[in-house]
Point group: C2
Chain length 374, copies 2
Amino acid sequence: MAPNKIVDIHTHMYPPSYVKILTSRPTIPLVRSFPGASDPRLILLEAEVPLLNQDDAHSTGHLPGRPLTKHYSSLAQKIHFMDTHDIAISVISLANPWLDFLSAEESTGIAREINQSFSDMCKEHPGRLYFFATLPLTAKLEEVLGCIAECTKLPYCRGVILGTSGLGKGLDDPDLLPIFKSLAEHGMTIFLHPHYGLPNEVWGPRAEKYGHVLPLALGFPMETTIAVARMYLAGVFDAVPALRMILAHSGGTLPFLAGRIESCVLHDGVLVKEGKVGPGRRTVWDVLKEQVYLDAVIYSEVGLKAAVDASGVDRLMFGTDHPFFPPLTSDEEGKWESVTLNAEAVDRAVGKGSKEAQKVMGGNAISVLRLEGE
Amino acid sequence: MAPNKIVDIHTHMYPPSYVKILTSRPTIPLVRSFPGASDPRLILLEAEVPLLNQDDAHSTGHLPGRPLTKHYSSLAQKIHFMDTHDIAISVISLANPWLDFLSAEESTGIAREINQSFSDMCKEHPGRLYFFATLPLTAKLEEVLGCIAECTKLPYCRGVILGTSGLGKGLDDPDLLPIFKSLAEHGMTIFLHPHYGLPNEVWGPRAEKYGHVLPLALGFPMETTIAVARMYLAGVFDAVPALRMILAHSGGTLPFLAGRIESCVLHDGVLVKEGKVGPGRRTVWDVLKEQVYLDAVIYSEVGLKAAVDASGVDRLMFGTDHPFFPPLTSDEEGKWESVTLNAEAVDRAVGKGSKEAQKVMGGNAISVLRLEGE
């Protein structure tokens, strides 16, 4: 293994079969074409619905969502993007909202189809592509567990991407424990990724003026933080010590808020009374340093340093969030500023060309996700 | 000025007149006595309402809210707390939710009464106490502006404490601009403090099992972050360049998320199209380094380092959040662990006994808030 290989562990694809499903839907998530717009639009967020329902969406010049360019479903484009940014290996995953919106009856078949297409993509470029599979979480438990077992047989699968909804009641839902245990037993890493953000009301009556900034910049990382904190308080990390989870966007806000969470636990009348704050307790810091990995998608030296301080430099993994956040003022075929921002943050936080930078940019992912063969 | 004085800029009081108002209320915020409980309970948060409405709240052993001990309204107790923790100066403020719940008719009179009682407390201990005043934000604009003018004549007043609701529509409300401008013109610093957290639904169906941890540890800092981001996106910091604002809890999560906010702005189709992302633009980093101060109430070295990295060591100010987070397993008259956690975080982040630590522990507050006389 070349220690200076760049690995992208946060990079999404929508296979054509998934785009077809989205195109057939009347409500979000959906894909819709607008007259005069060169690409169909991918509309994912609750915050984008007001614009979607506006009759004159096109005439105002503001279309809902984002253009569904070839970056979303073309494998050739993914490889071009990797080459442009010197990325040796990508661990691709279906983007949000995965299969959350499917009925119990249809989800298992579609999950199988999608995982197979990811597997096929990896086989086309051996050694350059691995993937996180997608689980049919709206199906019966046995079907989900069956899907996990099937995924372990797909040679380039290294884990699963997971949203925060779980079975519909969040990741602190005890009914999820068999799934977490099965993933842990099979050495499948969870890539935890947000989708739902926060309820629209928190952005206030003027949110539309601010584009997508509030739900994307704040809603997404806050959603991730809340999901992990709920898992922590429910004792999931105690119940499944072998659970391993990569948190998107450097843990949302977990590295910054871990101290406040700990203090609130220590000072909570109910938890203290119930004897839940005794010695030997697994702290949030323990989880950050032993069970959780963080991607390095935080766009600043300040944030990245905090992530490294919280989890350790062996637990950070570079990512791009491609195909989201394309450049708006330069050619999409060239270098993306969103990628450069994150790469520069790594250089500044841990030292350009340092051993630590090599770990974050690829070494950690190669070692943790076993990216050295089938 | 002794450079090694400890100053506490985040420390609250409920004067007896305010407690009387809370005791008379049927809905939150309120104070209520429960049979068998030695202190009445102070119930502030939406998340505490389910327990309040439970008939058997007392029999389950879990009372809503927190005990309203003498720490909340006794000045002697505040001075004792300061002496116990070697705090030379405290800048006291009314705690949440201030006067948000009052009618337009009553709020101005009550604000005047409360500000006068804070002023009287400061006069009892000259040089040891200063205060942030409370504004009657539900009153007419002229009354609010009149209140600001009155406050500037109170010798120990150094600014105002402000929640995130503003006039009821958030701090990005253009109707607030005259108030921000008046505060800036008078050199009054705003202490921005959360109260409303996030809608209960985000904590999920099992939130009651986790005590107050989720709304306090996550809801509060997320609320602050959202409020400041909305102000930023609305251009408030551009419109009022002299605005100075201390953000509670080290900015909520702003230091950690500033990079993501910046990236989302740069990559937002709507904002770019409207020409809002041009050169010379005031970035979130500019606001953090020039218009915002952060308290040092973040309970960890990781968080405090990020706050210092984001805003600079000259902009951090120690605080205790007294009388909240009392020790649950040791004597309330002694040292509080919540205070020690924050003081130790400062020592670890910037070096115990260093010039930087002296700044954060008191020097910055003395200089920024002019705590050297009346």
